[in-house]
Symmetry: C2
Subunit: 88 residues, 2 copies
């Protein structure tokens, strides 16, 4: 494996797992005040489109990364909507 590929895999790992600590934090604290609802609507739409694209072109890394990211993104988006709705 050349070092380009290693950098690409490291990049994909970071951007995929980065949403885990935010998902954990939002579930633990139930605090969503400074999170942007439009960000998570657009991001969730984007990762679901990436997942669709990955399935259409049969690209396993794109499918794998966006399955994980869409899981976290849906949790954060759901928490923002749920906790804000309950708070109002």
């Amino acid at each position: 494996m050349d070092y380009f590929t290693i950098i690409g895999l490291a990049a994909a790992t970071c951007t995929t797992i980065s949403f885990l600590p935010q998902a954990v934090k939002v579930i633990r604290t139930r605090d969503t005040r400074s999170l942007s609802l439009p960000m998570y609507i657009i991001l969730t739409t984007g990762v679901l489109l990436w997942l669709t694209y990955g399935i259409l072109v049969n690209d396993i890394p794109v499918i794998a990364a966006n399955t994980v990211t869409s899981f976290f993104s849906v949790i954060i988006l759901g928490a923002i909507i749920f906790y804000r709705y309950r708070a109002e």
Copy 2:
């Protein structure tokens, strides 16, 4: 352009611009309490690695998308560190 490519471009557009409303919100409100610092450290590392990868393999879409995302990501990360440090 086939519809696979259109879906891929729509996906890339969404995931790239999704951080704009969060960057605007954090600058406007200065409220970073519910944002995860580890998320933005890992995400910023990831997009800078993607940018490096894009430059190494000379992939213009990867370079373009991650230039934009790293800009927003650095703003949000900087705001979290700056406003928390000032608040403490």
